[in-house]
Symmetry: C2
Subunit: 372 residues, 2 copies
């Protein structure tokens, strides 16, 4: 998993590309004109770990709400604009940290020049966001988008900006079809060194959309492609942030909160594992400190896996063992398993031996293939 | 996405490997000794699309329940056995279609020979199931599993079987760490041509476990590796089957039921998209016929994406357009959108122009990169 070398781009205090960690972003689905509701959603997104937030700016009234939204937000704010260069100028004026706009779609040289000049003056990067669903008609093949056409579309927009001496660029190549988007990103990765915003678009509901996004984004990250990710779900955007971190954590690219290792249960399971795993997940949902917790039902694989976790339980008949860093702490009855496990976790996080707890957690999940 | 060439293996009526489609399997989490409860869970798994089911056989009593479970199950049944060769012999006797047992762990030549001879006599394949959590101690490096150690462990078991002239083998190399498991499968893919059962073990709860599995299984399938998949979740195994199909559908490897393309909603959305998308998913959950349905909130990408779907809606202000195969059928008020969409779907599935409907759906999602 060697990461593709990209030119870093800065949005407010967040760097995308270069050596920066892969960042997590989302988009509000409130009415942007309602600055209070949008601000409140951004606050919830930040709480979930969102690092960059985008808002759609479909009209003048939405643009007028941007200064208030910008003042309230504690993370970089990106304005998503289609077709209308005046909205882009208003957004830049309002102090946004980034633009998502396709320069080929805002009508002619003067308008593009005005936007690019204003963005350059404030060091605001522009994301070119190609979407398979809205490709230029002349690029379609039998009316359908191809990966090559998506790349070609992106390069057209890139050249417009480069010809104006503007290189503060991020690119996305989204489609609802995973092979279509993955191949497009792969192809473009060989042609430019701009950082990529990766995602599967129109992915679906929380269940199916998270899975489809995990496949598409996971494939690219595994190949070292991707500098910032957005999971698109039809639902609460907070779930997008949670799903994004699960994807990044599964590849060892980010570490945040609990990584729960829990077995699927089978006829060998003699404790109520589903309940215990669910409760551990729920109680630790707000945790930021990285922590590997194992909840294992049986003695066959349980102790082996639990050994690599910061803390874990392995169940027997009506009772269980509590492990910590591979050492059995004690045997407890099933009724006390959750309480005792949470007590151990609390000790690890707030106790006097933090070094032991989290130093090792880092080594465990550092994402080096073959390592963990 | 060229698929790795593998030697096909047959479990009852299902072929794994060779040119067979990537199959979906799961494992019961009932008490195997309770044949009725296990049979009922298998029935629910089959209804969800499960094609191979595995049951843990931890003791003699569980083995005694196998004949009844076998009689009731309409899909191939695999017995999962650890350490005890007598349970393997009993399972073969009971008529199971496959064994998951590691021949190196059942104690000595005679015992292995007896199991292999009995399996060969009934054409029952054996899956060697290596798990990073229970590797042989001499293979660990500083106490930790590596991908190379997992491969070495698998090859030891393979050689035991091959030395007895037994080649009816599947292999899995599971770990809870995605890079660890993905690299192990990759390495072994170059060394043997046996089909692979792929999965991430101890993946977690339905939300985090589905995502982690999608990343791990998705990466391998994208590289052409994987002949049968199991998603391991701490929860109802029916969810494992649903998650597995979502992974396979996202790469165009299987087609089953609705593929929902729904946008994440944003400030441009003027219809209640989350509700409509959720209801479409719920109402079509039982559908087996492949169908691509788009539920799009706005005019920017909506019509473009909806054009490639069998049927779709794109929303405007309080109303929406119904599309079918790229043609607008009619404009309807928001209150009737769901009803009218379901009517169109019903027409597509049960109407007189099925060829048009599903022929094209096939071409859309055939998984050829750059195609859909």
């Amino acid at each position: 998993m060697r990461r593709r070398k990209t030119r870093p781009v800065r949005l407010g205090g967040v760097t995308v590309g270069g050596d920066a960690p892969v960042s997590v972003q989302s988009m509000t689905n409130t009415d942007t004109r309602d600055a209070a509701a949008t601000g409140e959603q951004i606050r919830r997104l930040v709480e979930a770990g969102c690092e960059i937030v985008r808002v759609a700016v479909p009209d003048r009234e939405a643009a007028l709400a941007l200064p208030e939204i910008r003042r309230g937000a504690t993370i970089p704010l990106v304005a998503d604009i289609h077709f209308d260069h005046r909205l882009a100028l208003a957004a830049i004026e309002a102090g946004v940290d980034g633009l998502r706009i396709n320069p080929g779609n805002i009508g002619g040289g003067d308008r593009v020049a005005a936007v690019v000049k204003a963005a350059a003056a404030k060091n605001i990067p522009i994301r070119i966001g190609v979407n398979a669903g809205s490709l230029e008609k002349d690029l379609l093949r039998d009316g359908a988008p191809t990966s090559a056409a998506m790349v070609e579309s992106a390069l057209r927009h890139v050249h417009i900006l480069e010809n104006m001496g503007f290189y503060d660029i991020k690119i996305s190549l989204k489609a609802s079809d995973v092979p279509l988007m993955a191949n497009a990103y792969r192809m473009l990765a060989d042609k430019v060194d701009y950082p990529f915003h990766v995602g599967v678009t129109e992915a679906g509901t929380i269940f199916s959309g998270s899975i489809k996004s995990a496949v598409g984004i996971g494939i690219l990250l595994w190949e070292g492609i991707g500098d910032t990710v957005r999971v698109s779900l039809t639902g609460d955007p907070v779930q997008e942030v949670r799903a994004a971190y699960e994807i990044l954590k599964s590849l060892g690219l980010r570490r945040k909160g609990v990584e729960l290792i829990s077995c699927p249960t089978c006829a060998r399971t003699q404790i109520d594992l589903v309940r215990i795993a669910g409760q551990v997940e729920e109680r630790l949902a707000g945790l930021d400190t990285p922590l590997k917790v194992a909840v294992m039902g049986c003695v066959v694989n349980g102790p082996g896996e639990a050994r690599h976790a910061d803390v874990g339980v392995a169940g027997g008949r009506g009772e269980g063992l509590i492990f910590r860093k591979g050492r059995v702490i004690r045997k407890v009855p099933e009724s006390l398993l959750l309480t005792e496990l949470m007590k151990e976790i609390d000790n690890l996080i707030n106790g006097g031996d933090r070094d032991e707890g989290f130093g090792n957690a880092g080594a465990d999940s550092a994402g080096s293939p073959g390592g963990g």
